[in-house]
Symmetry: C2
């Protein structure tokens, strides 16, 4: 069986000095005093293809967010608090000062490091104009350098590898490209715009009902597009990638182009109004649009919201994916609780991947499994490697955050397990987190409510105990797309109105540094709940898609209200009804025990 997750961590710390020196040699030719290297690629996704791992190449650091400023005599690596331990281990700290933002403000640090009138180069496909405008507050001059200097310094850069393009079945998508395009055209008409520039690959995948495999764990086709009010779809994907059969399928309105053709095509839109998202549009493209006299109307890409609201077919599909995922998770829970021999965090990841892979619909895992026992569980974004791997002790809490990419849905679930007997403290904390998780799951809320409003429901039970967690309560979830998908969320920053059909994770936690981590995560579908009995207003609420029992060994029933106990029992009964018929006798019996009333 193939492996979706690798446990090797790239180690190029010893080469960092040499690589930085090679980069610096290019400064004189380009008349720059420094160079900025972001973690992202030009498609701005969470995952980037191997050839675009430029931050890792030059710094050694492999985290999912980072930025580097390399000057002639010094260099900074900016990371966030998730990577405070990892980054200094991976990079060469003789070369790079590791700066944790926002502990130290990025703006302040940049202003300190960069002198007025210094010339700092950047790749104009990897930054937006907005990002550069922020950096320009330092007083320095930011110089777009069209060739990527990391690639240039590389000598033998990895080739771009592009995957096969696959048609996403209409039975799952629920709406055709033509129907979706009609929605976009209606929006363009309302906004009095001539065209929409689509910068995010997932928005193109959704609109065309296509999937690919250009990056790990998310079935993206890395490409850009322009859709016009007349219904033409200019797709900057690489002409050679589109097979005749696919071209036939897409029809005559889709014009397949090479990636760089966009710069020539922009001329067609002279004097026309193009809707675009200034947050994610590359500096080079925004500049080309402006230079060619295009009238830019800035707004969120309307596809973000259209894609977030899953239609009936998508809802039905993702329900199936979650039942299938529940089977794998329950097999794993059974395996975990019945192992007689010692096993490690990596063993657990492999075993879980094997159980998921039993389903032919599985295409990938949806992200690298967080498999953290004991103190490793307290590292919110822990990624196990051969180096960090350890045996999961009887007394350890084991935090497992994982998901599958099935053809019909993307899953994301966190459960905490324990092999032995839990301590009173572990049970208290687990139950407090569970109370927050349950409060979100059972919440009813009026139409128009944002995720910012609901966030405190998850925290209030923890606050009463004097604890908290340092991440949002929930993120949007894609459908066989990215496991993290906006615009909705449950956090203080989530100002988007929640609408029926949206998917959200519900994942409060508690992390005791050096000891253990707890997170309980389900995926919830926002649904109409109608008017409650004797009530007056139509309310929205959640249908929990994830169908895996909570860890009974960790629940302190005395801390739960009657309502909470009833809520857990009802959920467990639903799991039992849905999943037991899909299990063999031994596992069915195991699940029945896990789902017995508290």
């Amino acid at each position: 069986m193939g492996r979706y997750q690798s446990f090797d961590v790239m180690d190029c710390r010893d080469q960092v000095a040499e690589r930085v020196a090679a980069l610096r040699k290019l400064f004189a030719t380009h008349k720059i005093d420094g160079y900025l290297v972001p973690r992202g690629d030009e498609f701005r996704g969470e995952y980037v293809p191997e050839h675009a791992e430029r931050l890792a190449y030059i710094t050694g650091f492999t985290g999912s967010w980072g930025l580097s400023l390399i000057l002639k005599d010094s260099a900074d690596l900016y990371i966030d608090s998730r990577y405070k331990i990892q980054a200094p281990e991976q990079t060469d700290t003789d070369i790079f000062d590791v700066i944790c933002v926002p502990e130290i403000s990025l703006d302040t640090r940049l202003a300190e490091k960069i002198g007025q009138n210094h010339r700092i180069g950047f790749d104009p496909m990897l930054f937006s104009r907005k990002e550069i405008a922020r950096f320009e507050k330092t007083g320095a001059i930011f110089v777009p350098v069209s060739e990527n200097l990391i690639d240039l310094s590389h000598g033998e850069a990895l080739p771009e590898i592009r995957s096969e393009i696959l048609i996403h079945p209409i039975e799952i998508a629920g709406a055709s490209f033509t129907e979706k395009k009609k929605q976009i055209i209606d929006i363009l008409q309302k906004k009095n715009c001539d065209a929409l520039f689509i910068v995010l690959p997932e928005n193109i995948c959704w609109l065309l009902n296509l999937r690919g495999n250009d990056v790990p764990h998310t079935p993206f086709i890395l490409s850009r597009a322009i859709v016009t009010i007349e219904g033409k779809f200019y797709w900057y994907v690489g002409k050679e990638r589109v097979t005749p059969a696919l071209k036939e399928h897409l029809g005559p309105d889709v014009i397949c182009r090479d990636s760089d053709d966009i710069f020539a095509d922009i001329k067609m839109f002279h004097n026309q109004k193009i809707l675009y998202d200034p947050i994610d549009t590359a500096f080079a493209i925004e500049k080309a649009l402006q230079d060619n006299g295009v009238k830019l109307i800035s707004d969120d890409d309307p596809i973000l919201l259209l894609k977030a609201i899953k239609n009936n077919a998508e809802q039905a599909a993702t329900r199936k994916a979650h039942i299938r995922d529940a089977v794998a998770m329950i097999k794993f829970a059974h395996w975990f609780s019945t192992q007689q021999q010692d096993f490690t965090e990596i063993d657990a990841v492999k075993q879980l991947e094997d159980f998921r892979s039993e389903a032919p619909e599985l295409k990938d895992i949806s992200f690298d499994t967080i498999s953290g026992s004991g103190a490793n569980g307290a590292i919110v974004h822990y990624r196990v490697s051969h180096k960090s791997d350890k045996i999961i002790a009887e007394s350890d809490l084991f935090l497992c955050d994982s998901g599958g990419q099935y053809l019909d849905g993307t899953t994301d679930i966190t459960r905490v397990f324990i092999r032995g007997k839990a301590t009173a403290e572990q049970k208290t904390r687990y139950t407090q987190v569970l109370k927050g998780h349950l409060a979100v799951a059972r919440a009813l809320f009026p139409i128009g409510t944002t995720g910012a409003v609901l966030d405190v429901l998850a925290r209030a039970p923890l606050w009463q105990a004097g604890i908290d967690f340092g991440h949002g309560t929930g993120h949007g979830v894609g459908l066989y797309l990215s496991v993290h998908e906006g615009p909705q969320g449950i956090s203080s920053r989530s100002k988007v109105k929640l609408e029926p059909g949206m998917l959200l994770s519900n994942e409060p936690g508690y992390y005791k540094a050096g000891e253990f981590g707890i997170r309980i995560e389900n995926v919830e579908l926002i649904v109409h709940k109608g008017i409650p009995e004797d009530g007056e207003k139509n309310m929205l609420g959640f249908e929990t898609l994830t169908l895996v029992p909570y860890e009974r060994k960790l629940i302190d029933k005395s801390l739960l209200s009657r309502e909470e106990i009833h809520q857990i029992d009802t959920y467990h009964q639903r799991i039992s009804d849905s999943v037991i018929p899909l299990l063999d006798a031994e596992r069915a019996s195991f699940l029945k025990d896990q789902c017995a009333p508290l």
Copy 2:
């Protein structure tokens, strides 16, 4: 005994046509096509002195918010949803179209009504530049007219009546003018400003430790001021109002000036930086500052936050005021429950005012008592008049929202009473509202939390039942100043961080139109709660200052959790301990019954 509340409602509906005609006659002279009349006066408070009740004069409408646009051939009265019934009753609807905003957007309606290049007059002391800038989006020309045209059309406008200025005792204020001024100077230094322009009278009262009686129910001295970084205090109050004794008390740094002297004095600040609040600064003053080359630094008046955080002396004083107010309220509750004869809403108001007036510290009521029985209780801002007054039936819920202005504190409390036996529905709704109120009262929250975050705690129990309430959960409260005082609050709009020493009302409700209203309101003081047992973080929370029991007849205990029952019993025990010693035997016995464990 004097009466603080009047039950007469001005009725000038029959004169509206004639008054509007008189106003329109002035249009030609001033070369305008229309005129804007706001409800507020130049001091922007909730209450305005009688001579400044210009909106009521011209429209007949007496609500606390409104705006009128009078054109040559038509006229609009803009109100909010509170006044949808009252406004059309009070105004002459042949003259005024009553428009409820935001049901109809004010911007849209103004744009429809006002033609491009129309000239609309306004009094530049009654609008800010920000407000006018918003109106200017209609494309019309807004013309400041220095004489107020309502006053001019009036012929015999009421004189401005100004009250005696009184010294607010230092034992209550807890900090002297000099100490407070030092805080302001520190802020000016930090912000690199030369002076602060103070536009709100309550901020001046706080800073100078003075009180007056220029408007009903709030002890304001209507005035403006400029405080400089050198410590000079230019006070635009009216020189004749400041007695020699008061002048002696204030010391040499306070320069007393007439109201209009500000326009001459502004010249002194040429090329200096003045901190000012563009939200509330009059158009005429902002223009004068700009015309005289003053450098304007716009920000919230720093006094708002300084004033909101009550010091130890203020906290001790306001606790005393609340105990005194509790005595009056409990006497009232006893009276209410023991009356054998019929009595009306007005009788109840008078009786409550009499009980409050027994305390020599009472200076006024803090607002017109909302005394609503049955269907009147469902009108959120109901104000009883001789016309609306009715007998409180045995089966009526009676909603009473009232407060006192004591020398040592401003109170605000809402309780719901019933003379007879409550229905199951009434009990259910009361208990649901109580659950929201209790959830806020017991909440612990980390430093940095805003009122916007807490708001949902009051609503969640109502949302679960499919009901809601259409107002914020809480507002800030002054100390022998305005009963509504910013910047903090508990509502979706409250983005100010909550800090120990702030006062907040906690007042969720439920309103069944045509049947009954419920609101339960206490004043809460934000306090440090320390680290909860076995917790990790220092938390903030509330100390409830209001000490009046909830209505036992309306509590359905079966809907409460053990935690909620314990919370109520603990609160009632506190009330019993604090207030019983202050009551005669009969009332003490009554209170003891009301405070018995549920």
